[in-house]
């Protein structure tokens, strides 16, 4: 019996197919409505402003802006934000659009591999396990992922269905990856980290009205993308795109074909218009994917979203952002489960500066999710239909204490239908010790609010539910994080970024055997570790970046808990990870780029994965300004390795050769 329960737990923890439930909140009776009424908005305030990449003021990026755009940029903010990354009191890493291209990444997860502070493991042809600072699984639930301010984690399990986040990477301006809690500004789920994908303004893509990309490979059988962009009237610009891809099935580690080939098509648009102080953005995407399953009928995934954003600068130097989006997704995994989810979100954010020493952001948000699950014989989400509401508000003040010393104080407040009210305060201190050194310290609290999987999951799919009977009393998982970091520009061409963290978790999810068997908050634990990034420019034509991550995690059972996984159900994490990237401009036309990564063994007894190393090489040739060719070879070192999962079902990834051509007119 215990074995069966274990199987269900594993299913819960490891099967990507299941998890997909949003932050559901037990329908409390609007107690906090009054409180939130004045400040009606959420926290997706991912604060565009929050972290600026050095690229944001590079000559190359400025050159792409129109004169109108240049005239609208507050240079004190720019210079402040240029330094903002350097002076951000958090562990942050930025992947630039150009780097994504040079990595040869063909999907968002592949691009994310380059962030040293993320553990990115491929599970099969379409599924990935991605987390920061531990707790990785295919249903990892402590990471907040935003695409242009749109949250893409599903309230089914507080995680991300990576297989439907198929942004056109050519359009990505940068990806900000923050490890550590960011709950104050970003909101619930930003427990261990935040991934913030920011796409280019359509004025920028309008400079190349036509973009076409085509690629073929051994595994990435076919990729095709087309984008058409242009200017609209005096102040507007637009782009539209469509892409299609086909990926071959992987093979099982134990041998044999995994029958997980899949294909997808996505199309979308973006409009940007308005005057300098009054910008409007409207964008949307639709997609349809189809994936093979070993035994049952194909998995089908469809969906779409539309987002509108208005940014208004007031003469006082204050800024107002209003954002709203609607997202619909449909997923059918025959014989396992299906889900239709609609999300409506509204956010408002206001930023102002008082007396030049207080930089204040306040915001509020509302999100309504309507979820319908198609249950199977094996498991059921009950009730199958559920509507949930989430109210959030936040306030943050960055105070300039003295020259070079900043104190950030803030908190986010939320109310969800499952666990009611929660608060996520933080305090951060940053000290610019000299022009080339920055030190920071922080203490923050973050919560992972309950999702449907924690509360509503029953197994088998019909009574009696002898494996699992939901988690009626499941409450938020909590984290108190202590962090510190040091950035040092040792030489013009040698840069260090170092962070240490100590995380105290409480009320982590456990699987109590019962009777009745339920999910509870029976685990607690600590995780500590370090992240180090070294950036060097060996020569103007040769840039090397190395990243190392160390993690120690200890999870224990509370005295009353009898967790069937004995604390190992929540993630399978390596202690060491190393990656090294090298970007060489051989000549003006030729690029030679390489990436090496080492991932230490994953320890969990039932899903142990041996350590592996992978080396990828890319050769790029740009014979003219409008055409570029690229050849990518992945996994040069070995014929195959596994990255995640239990031995009986996990997949192996071998060598890949991929050639592509891009035309930009």
């Amino acid at each position: 019996m215990t074995e069966i329960r274990k199987a269900v737990i594993q299913l819960v923890a490891l099967s990507p197919n299941l998890w997909g439930y949003p932050q559901m909140f037990p329908c409390l009776k609007w107690k906090f409505l009054l409180l939130t009424l004045g400040i009606l908005i959420v926290c997706t305030s991912r604060a565009t402003a929050q972290i600026a990449h050095r690229d944001s003021v590079s000559l190359a990026s400025l050159k792409l802006k129109s004169l109108e755009e240049l005239m609208e940029i507050d240079i004190t903010i720019v210079s402040r934000r240029a330094q903002q990354w350097f002076e951000s009191p958090a562990a942050a890493f930025v992947i630039s659009g150009d780097e994504i291209r040079r990595l040869g990444a063909r999907s968002l997860p592949e691009a994310l591999r380059s962030a040293p502070n993320l553990h990115v493991a491929q599970v099969d042809a379409r599924q990935w396990a991605i987390s920061a600072r531990g707790f990785n699984s295919t249903t990892a639930n402590k990471l907040l992922v935003l695409i242009d301010g749109r949250s893409v984690y599903t309230p089914l399990y507080s995680g991300v269905f990576w297989d439907v986040q198929n942004v056109l990477l050519e359009d990505v301006d940068r990806i900000e990856v923050i490890s550590g809690p960011g709950g104050t500004l970003w909101g619930a789920n930003a427990v261990n980290g935040i991934i913030n994908v920011i796409t280019k303004n359509s004025h920028e893509t309008a400079r190349n009205p036509v973009f076409v990309e085509a690629g073929v490979g051994k595994k990435e059988l076919l990729t095709g993308a087309i984008r058409y962009a242009g200017l609209l009237g005096e102040t507007g610009a637009y782009r539209t795109y469509a892409r299609h891809f086909r990926r071959a099935s992987t093979r099982l580690e134990k041998g044999g074909d995994a029958s997980d080939s899949w294909s997808g098509t996505q199309a979308g648009f973006r409009f940007d218009f308005g005057e300098v102080d009054d910008e409007v953005l409207i964008q949307g995407d639709i997609y349809s994917d189809n994936a093979d399953q070993d035994v049952n009928d194909d998995v089908t995934m469809k969906g779409g979203n539309v987002l509108a954003e208005w940014r208004h600068s007031l003469s006082t130097g204050s800024e107002l952002i209003l954002r709203s989006y609607f997202d619909y997704s449909h997923r059918r995994i025959p014989a396992t489960f299906g889900e239709d989810l609609g999300t409506l979100d509204l956010d408002l954010q206001y930023r102002t500066v008082f007396y030049e020493v207080h930089d204040i952001i306040v915001g509020a948000g509302f999100r309504h999710s309507s979820d319908r699950v198609v249950n199977s014989a094996g498991l059921a989400f009950l009730p199958p239909r559920l509507q949930t509401r989430l109210y959030t508000a936040f306030v943050q003040d960055v105070m300039l204490l003295s020259e070079g010393v900043n104190l950030t104080l803030g908190s986010k407040f939320g109310h969800n239908d499952f666990s009611g009210f929660d608060y996520q305060p933080q305090i951060r201190l940053g000290w610019r010790r000299s022009e080339i050194e920055f030190l920071w310290l922080s203490v923050s609290r973050a919560v992972r609010t309950p999702s449907r999987i924690d509360r509503d999951l029953f197994a088998p799919g019909n009574p009696p539910y002898f494996f699992l009977q939901g988690g009626p009393g499941f409450k938020s998982e909590k984290l108190v994080a202590y962090e510190g970091g040091y950035r040092w520009q040792a030489l013009r061409a040698l840069f260090f970024d170092f962070a240490l963290f100590y995380n105290q978790y409480n009320d982590l999810r456990s699987f109590e055997p019962g009777p009745p068997p339920v999910l509870k908050n029976g685990l607690k634990g600590t995780a500590y570790g370090a992240e180090l990034v070294i950036n060097t420019e060996m020569a103007p034509w040769w840039r090397v970046r190395a990243g190392y991550m160390h993690l120690q995690k200890k999870i224990s059972l509370k005295s009353w808990s009898r967790d069937v996984n004995n604390g190992t159900g929540e993630g399978n994490d390596s202690k060491h990870r190393l990656n090294i990237y090298s970007f060489i401009d051989l000549t003006d036309d030729w690029e030679l780029d390489g990436s090496f990564r080492f991932v230490d063994r994953l320890p969990n007894a039932n899903a142990a994965v041996t350590s592996y190393s992978a080396l990828d090489i890319r050769l790029g040739w740009n014979p003219t300004s409008w055409i570029s060719l690229s050849l990518l070879v992945q996994n040069i070192l070995e014929s195959g390795h596994s990255e995640f999962g239990a031995p009986s079902t996990r997949k192996e990834f071998g060598r890949e050769i991929y050639g592509s051509a891009r035309v930009s007119l």
């Binding site: 050159k63 005239m71 507050d74 520009q489 013009r492």
Partner: protein, 196 residues
């Protein structure tokens, strides 16, 4: 045998590369690739503005010796851009013409150029500089208060922390330069002062 030798060669080359890399790391001068000062940011912007001006202003064909002649950007006085302009404009072609940057210490040294950036350091000699530039059909650009009113072509100013520019339309006309309507629309237009 052969393989062993090859191995040795590779090893010695790797050593050489490591040594070179180490040496490079030691000699490169400090100051930040991330740490940018406010003024550095300001001149990044101004450099990009100049790049835009070059595209939005039309010089008469008589200003060039031939169709292949380069567009010459001059900087007079203490150069606030450092290598920014060189980085920005190298390899650029504007209206099919390559761009060349020249630096002049004194206005009397100024040779033929199409756009002349007059540095702050030259504030005392504006009338003489302008007189000379006008003869040469050069577009003068500066960041000295009152530069455009006194007869300069384009002048940067800062308003609400944003970089803006003013244009003296008469000065451009006298130099036989044609500014695009877009440029004129974005600029603050100034009239020459009486004593200009």
């Amino acid at each position: 045998m052969q393989a062993h030798k090859t191995h040795e060669t590779i090893r010695s080359r790797v050593k050489a590369i490591c040594a070179t890399a180490g040496f490079l790391l030691l000699i490169v001068q400090p100051s930040g690739m991330y740490a940018q000062s406010a003024s550095e940011v300001e001149y990044r912007f101004k450099a990009v503005y100049l790049f835009n001006f070059l595209q939005l202003i039309e010089w008469p064909t008589t200003a060039f010796d031939s169709d292949e002649s380069p567009l010459v950007v001059g900087i007079l006085g203490k150069d606030p851009f450092g290598r920014l302009l060189d980085d920005l404009l190298k390899k650029e072609r504007i209206n099919e013409r390559p761009v060349v940057i020249r630096r002049f210490e004194d206005y009397e040294d100024v040779e033929k150029c199409h756009l002349l950036f007059v540095s702050d350091s030259e504030g005392d000699r504006i009338p003489a500089i302008l007189r000379q530039a006008q003869q040469r059909q050069a577009l003068t650009v500066s960041e000295i208060v009152g530069f455009a009113e006194r007869g300069g072509g384009i002048n940067f100013y800062i308003e609400n922390n944003r970089i803006k520019f003013e244009i003296n339309v008469d000065a451009l006309r006298r130099a036989d330069l044609h500014a695009s309507s877009k440029l004129l629309r974005l600029a603050r237009l100034v009239k020459p002062s009486k004593d200009g």
